[in-house]
Structures are given as structure tokens and as C-alpha cells.
């Protein structure tokens, strides 16, 4: 995907699944069906003009690609967040929003022949990709199992609570959902599985209570802050091979590694099959350098989260300030995020494919 074309999609419906979040359903015209075909776990980038400035944000598609549902996103209000609050306050049916086609490598592609146990660890708005994945497994991987451990602050911040309960009822043999709440209200009848956080103890107890049925087990983690790191290490502590753990930090705070400023470098960029020589200045990211000479490389969030700007490093070395969008194995294979990469050697070559 090397084009970064935006398409105006009409909002079919917009509603609040909980008071602090909004689900926006888009109408994808037939002619764009292929462009907007998504994989469970992928995001789309939305572009708005707010206060005279262009802003872009990526949100996970929360509907499942195999359920026949429309393309939709569910956006939770972020305290002080420009776009999330704009969407919650203003977006309504009939609006048109500029959207770029789906992308992202944190995916679960259901395979009807496979027999796997998929564990999902999610918290807050990190549920959106997991929700799409879980539904896809139940619908399109009939021999597989889906076990979700889902953390929230309180009952009224649980997105998809009812739909998840319905899925458990519909697939009692194959689906488990357990809620963890950090603040438990005494005023409701809802009893979470546990109070507290999704910590090592919660993870181990969850696996002990729900051991994998199919032994090809896969683990998906998506939550804010350092949740991914802590879930990953809790899993590795009980010998889950790292190749089975898939994670994405989304909607959380991105920790930047600004320890290295970057040096000037001559860069060869292969984009759309064409080779270009680009000068990257000291302190400039690869993406900035390419845009400065009017190249049209793919990008979206510009914060290392979405992965739209990924490219393959063929020569030289770079320093990445953030790398949330990439899995360790991808980094080993030379994948980099051009929006986060500054040069470490004075000659670099990258290829977009």
C-alpha cells in the first residue's frame, strides 16, 4: 500500500455504546468495497480540519470483516483529546469524513481449517481490535477457541459488554469472557471476575482456569501504557514462546526514545518501483525528508502507532524514536517506521513495497 488517498465516506449511523464513547458506522460505496476491505485488527486513518489545521488520527475498525457488518470505529473520549472529543461531540449520521484505506500488521486472519486457542488481553479502548478478532474467530474459525480477559476502570466504561455477553451465550463451548474492574461499584449487580488490574497474577489465574483447549495457542495483547510489556513478560515468565505473542499499543501514551538526534545522510528511496536520492538532514526523520522533496510516501499517524509508513531498510542503520507499530520479529527483518527513523549512518537505503 503505497498510496495515501483519502476517500470521503458518509456516516450511516453514530451512537454511544457507552456514555463516554461513540461508534461511527460508515457507508462504503460499492466502488470502494475493495479499497476498504479490512483484516480483523486493522485501523483506518481519519482526516479532519479542526481550527484551520489538518489533523489525522487512526482508529481500529471494531467490526469484524467476516460478520457482514459495516465498517465502523468506536472512539472513546480521551481527556483533553482533540479528535476523540470532536468525534464524540459532533459526528452524526449524514456527515462525510475523509478516510484512508485500512492498514496495520496487528491482525488475526481466521482460517476455517485451523484449530487454535486465541487468548485476548485487552484494557480500555484496546478492546477494539480484539473485539473484531474475537468475533472473527467465532464466526470463521469453527474449530477454534476465543478467551478474553478484559480490564476496565468501572462497569460503565466497558465497551461492547452486551455483545460480548451475547457471544458467550451463543458459543458457550468456544468463548470465554472475563472482566477485571479496577473500581468496583457496590451499586450494581454486575460482578467482575476480579477486581484490580490485569497483572501477572490475574493472567496466570485466567490461564489456569481456562487452559488452552486447542494447543496451537496464540496470545493477543492490546492496552494502554505499559500493559503490553507487562502482559508479555507475565506470559514469557510461564514459558509462552515470544513468537506466539502479538501486541499493539494503541491509544495509550507512546514513550519516545529521543536518546539519539540523528545525523545527515544520503538516502536511496525506492518508492512505487522508482529510485530517488533524498538528503536527510541532521535531526530530520526519513518521512520528513521525503515529503520535503515532494515524494508521496505512505504515512498516517506520524507518531509510530499506525505502521502506515513502514518501509524496509536495505542498507545503513537508523534510530527509531518509537516503534509501537512493529513487532520484534518485523524489526529483526529490517522493517522500520519512516516517520520515526533518523539516520545513524551517512548512507541509507529503503524500499517501500
Amino acid at each position: 500500500m503505497t498510496t495515501q488517498t483519502f476517500h470521503a465516506l458518509r456516516v450511516l449511523d453514530a451512537y454511544n455504546p457507552i456514555a463516554t464513547a461513540k461508534t461511527v458506522v460508515f457507508d462504503v460505496p460499492n466502488i470502494l468495497k475493495d479499497t476498504f476491505r479490512w483484516r480483523a485488527g486493522q485501523h483506518i486513518t481519519l482526516r479532519f480540519e479542526l481550527n484551520g489545521e489538518e489533523v489525522r488520527r487512526s482508529y481500529t475498525v471494531s467490526s469484524s470483516p467476516v460478520s457482514g457488518e459495516k465498517l465502523c470505529i468506536t472512539v472513546k473520549r480521551v481527556l483533553g483529546g482533540l479528535v476523540s472529543n470532536y468525534i464524540n461531540n459532533n459526528v452524526r449520521a449524514g456527515d462525510e469524513i475523509e478516510i484512508m484505506s485500512p492498514f496495520g500488521g496487528f491482525c488475526l486472519d481466521p482460517d476455517g481449517k485451523k484449530r487454535r486457542t486465541h487468548y485476548f488481553f485487552g484494557a480500555g479502548s484496546g478492546i477494539t481490535p480484539l473485539f473484531s478478532m474475537l468475533q472473527s474467530v467465532l464466526l470463521a474459525e469453527p474449530y477454534s477457541y476465543a478467551y478474553l480477559l478484559y480490564g476496565n476502570t468501572s462497569e460503565n466504561s466497558i465497551i461492547f459488554q452486551q455483545t460480548l455477553a451475547d457471544l458467550v451465550e451463543q458459543y458457550p463451548e468456544r468463548c470465554v469472557v472475563r472482566h477485571v474492574l479496577s473500581n468496583r461499584s457496590v451499586l450494581t449487580s454486575f460482578r467482575p471476575w476480579r477486581t484490580g488490574r490485569i497483572d501477572t497474577d490475574a493472567i496466570w489465574s485466567f490461564i489456569e482456569e481456562h487452559p488452552p483447549y486447542a494447543h496451537d495457542a496464540q496470545y493477543y495483547v492490546c492496552g494502554p501504557g505499559n500493559m503490553n510489556t507487562s502482559v508479555k513478560s507475565a506470559l514469557q515468565d510461564i514459558d509462552v514462546p515470544v513468537t506466539r505473542i502479538h501486541s499493539e499499543n494503541f491509544g495509550g501514551v507512546v514513550e519516545m526514545d529521543n536518546s539519539f538526534e540523528g545525523i545527515a545522510a544520503k538516502t536511496t528511496v525506492i518508492l512505487d518501483g522508482q529510485s530517488h536520492e533524498v538528503h536527510v538532514a541532521r535531526g530530520q526523520t526519513l518521512l520528513q525528508a521525503m515529503i520535503a522533496v515532494d515524494l508521496n510516501p505512505p504515512y498516517s499517524c506520524q507518531s509510530g502507532i499506525c505502521g502506515a509508513c513502514r518501509t524496509k531498510l536495505m542498507a545503513g542503520e537508523v534510530h527509531m524514536r518509537a516503534r509501537m507499530a512493529l513487532e520484534d520479529t518485523e524489526i529483526e527483518q529490517g522493517e522500520i517506521l519512516s516517520c520515526q527513523s533518523v539516520a545513524k549512518t551517512d548512507k541509507i537505503a529503503v524500499v517501500f513495497d
Binding site: K113, R115, Y143, I207, P211, P212, A214, I238, D239, V240
Partner: protein, 388 residues
């Protein structure tokens, strides 16, 4: 020269010669998913079992993440078998010969006197060789090939033809577990299991609570499926007549017995009140071990006692042996259908030695599964069968 003596489609040697036995071990039993036990056999981290799957000895161990791992049970040093049949190891597996030690991921983690004796050893290349493992229908399965793929490619198509039993919710009835060595080739044992024609004759007094005339059977891929309803006189008052508590998950209109034979040699007997396996394991050309294990409804022993008491007189009235005689010395006087089957299998094997042995005729329908099974065996031996 006398013509080749045949058992329907296979030469008699297929049932008597060491050469055929070895070919089957290599081309059938080492190439497919192999039954390894009940899921309940491994329930906590560190627990393991080992199983012979054709030429391969494979062990399954549960890691701390409760996932099962399977490895070839061979030390990477000089090939010594690492683990005995069943047991529990804490965090590591140590070879008895020179104490080479592996973690539960199969990595070689320690070699005694490594610095002095193996100065250039790269331990990372000497991990245990992985195999495949999965759980299906309450059972553990292994495959020697680490890239065997999904077990559902092997069982997916037959699954809908099996009983509605919720195997994972049933509990084992350990008192009725049996192991029998039968002096017959494994194919004779399997052919007996799938012979529909014999049911109303050999077992006229032991399996007559099922209506054999209404049996439906056939093959799905290499696997045999079979279903028959209960006999009218037994079904009429089934709540009272059934020997053990009825399984609720079986709809009344389907109540009966599902008796499939999963290739090669895992028979199931799924009926109104129990779920059993019949595991056929070839030991030699003329010797086969059969293990049976049974699961029943998870209710109190009081309920079992009550049901057995309620149905007692019905069964005394309605069970009879094939022949009258001393049950201690004559299998056919036991009134036990398994003893009846073992007896005829061994008698048939004996005759294979005789130069006068031949198959006289074959029942068109009731013995068709026997021929079809032979065809499948042949396809594997000749390499025409896509094994999974």
C-alpha cells in the same frame, strides 16, 4: 505353484509376515495422528506421558502456560530414550545416561563437564526434536511431524458423523478400564470391529439391545462411521432399563450407538449411557493389544447404584451367552461381547497358517466395510493415500 492366498483384497501375508508389519508401522502408523490418551491424563505443568506412534516414541509434556508440547523421546546426545511411560518432572528433563538436561521447551540447558568434554558444543542446535500435539474430542493426539498442520484436516469431516456426546463433561469410570492382548493381527481386530454382519450372530445374546437391521454405516475418508438405534423392547422403558444414568445430550430420536473406527485403529463406542474408546495397538504380526477406557455421566455413585438397581432384573432376564457352558473356560459362554470378539479374532488368525485357508464369500453389505478398510490400508502401503 499355488495361487496367492487372499483375505478379500489383501494377501494372507499382510496378516502374518514381519515384513508387512514393518511396512505398516512405517507407512501407516508413523504418518498419521495417533491417539495418546485422555485429556485428563495431563492436567498440570510438568506432567508428561509418552506414547509409541508407529516407529516414533513421542512424549507430551505440559508447560507452565498449560500448553502441551510434544517431542521425540530421544536424547540428542546418544539417542537414549529420555522419559518413561508417565510421570511428572518439575522444570527439566534429564537423560539418565549422562545427565544431559532439557527444559520443557526442549532446549538443551545443561551438559555435565561441558567445558572440558565439549569445548565447541553449540547447545542451541541440540534441542529436542519437536512433534505435533493437540486435543480433540477429550483425547490427546500426537503426530511425529512437527508441521503436521491442523488435526481438523484429519478429523474435520468425520466429526459431524459422531455422537452428540460432550466428552469433556463426562468422567472416567476407571474400574472398567481393560487391557487385552489378542493373538491376532491388528487388521483382524479392526475388521471384526467394523463387521456389521456378525453383530446379530456372534453377539445374539449380548448386543441385541441395538437394532442391527437399522444400522447405517460407511466411510468418511479413511474413517469408518456407524450408527444404529436401540431395539424397540429396550427403548420402550429406557429410563428404567438403562444400566447407567442416561446421557442427556443425546436427543431421543437419535438415541442409539455410534461405533466409529478412526483410522488406523481407534474405535469409539458412544451410546445412550457411556462413551468408550477401543485402542488397537499392533505389537507383532500376530499380536495386538487392545485398551479400553470408558467415560460416563458426571453424577454421584448413589445415582449409579440406583440406576443399576432399577435396571437389574431387566438385564438378568435379557442377557444370555452365545453357548451354554463354563464361563471360566469358554469365552462364548461368558455373555461378554468383548470376550466373544477376542475369541473369533484368535480363531481366524490360527487358520491363516493353513494352506487350505481361503475366503469363501463376502456379505454384500454387512461385510463391505471389511473390504473397504483393506483398500485403505493398501492405499497407504502403496503410497496412494494422502496421509495427514
Amino acid at each position: 505353484m499355488s495361487p496367492i492366498r487372499m483375505m478379500h483384497l489383501l494377501p494372507v501375508e499382510a496378516y502374518t509376515s514381519q515384513e508387512w508389519f514393518e511396512r505398516e508401522q512405517e507407512l501407516i502408523f508413523s504418518k498419521v495422528w495417533h491417539y495418546a490418551g485422555f485429556a485428563e491424563d495431563i492436567v498440570e505443568p510438568g506432567q508428561y506421558i509418552s506414547v509409541q506412534a508407529g516407529l516414533n516414541n513421542i512424549f507430551i509434556v505440559m508447560g507452565r502456560d498449560r500448553r502441551l508440547r510434544a517431542f521425540h523421546n530421544i536424547c540428542r546426545h546418544r539417542g537414549t530414550q529420555l522419559l518413561r511411560a508417565v510421570g511428572k518432572s518439575q522444570k527439566a528433563i534429564t537423560c539418565p545416561y549422562h545427565d544431559w538436561t532439557y527444559d520443557l521447551e526442549g532446549n538443551l540447558i545443561s551438559v555435565p563437564e561441558e567445558d572440558r568434554e565439549f569445548p565447541d558444543l553449540d547447545k542451541s542446535c541440540l534441542g529436542l526434536k519437536p512433534a505435533s500435539v493437540d486435543r480433540w474430542r477429550g483425547m490427546l493426539w500426537v503426530h511425529p511431524d512437527p508441521n503436521a498442520g491442523s488435526i481438523m484436516e484429519w478429523f474435520g469431516e468425520i466429526e459431524p458423523e459422531l455422537g452428540p456426546h460432550q466428552v469433556d463433561k463426562l468422567v472416567e469410570y476407571p474400574q472398567v478400564r481393560t487391557t487385552t492382548e489378542i493373538k491376532a493381527n491388528w487388521k483382524i481386530v479392526v475388521e471384526n470391529y467394523i463387521d456389521v454382519y456378525h453383530l446379530s450372530h456372534l453377539h445374539s445374546g449380548t448386543l441385541h439391545m441395538y437394532d442391527h437391521a437399522k444400522a447405517k454405516f460407511g466411510f468418511v475418508g479413511p474413517h469408518y462411521v456407524f450408527w444404529e438405534p436401540l431395539s424397540q423392547w429396550y427403548r420402550e422403558d429406557i429410563e428404567k432399563n438403562v444400566m447407567m444414568p442416561l446421557l442427556d445430550e443425546i436427543p431421543r430420536n437419535k438415541i442409539g450407538a455410534w461405533v466409529p473406527m478412526l483410522f488406523p485403529g481407534l474405535g469409539l463406542a458412544e451410546n445412550e449411557s457411556s462413551w468408550s474408546i477401543y485402542y488397537v495397538m499392533p505389537l507383532a504380526p500376530d499380536s495386538t493389544r487392545v485398551e479400553t477406557r470408558t467415560k460416563v455421566k458426571n453424577v454421584s455413585s448413589w445415582e449409579f447404584a440406583m440406576q443399576s438397581w432399577r435396571s437389574g432384573s431387566f438385564w438378568t432376564r435379557n442377557t444370555s451367552a452365545k453357548y451354554e457352558g463354563d464361563a471360566k473356560t469358554d469365552s462364548l459362554a461368558t455373555g461378554d461381547f468383548m470376550a466373544e470378539d477376542v475369541y473369533v479374532c484368535e480363531q481366524q488368525q490360527k487358520s491363516l497358517q493353513s494352506p487350505y485357508f481361503e475366503i469363501g464369500a463376502t456379505a454384500v453389505s454387512g461385510e463391505s466395510p471389511v473390504k473397504e478398510h483393506q483398500q485403505i490400508v493398501l492405499a497407504f502401503i502403496e503410497g496412494n493415500q494422502q496421509a495427514k
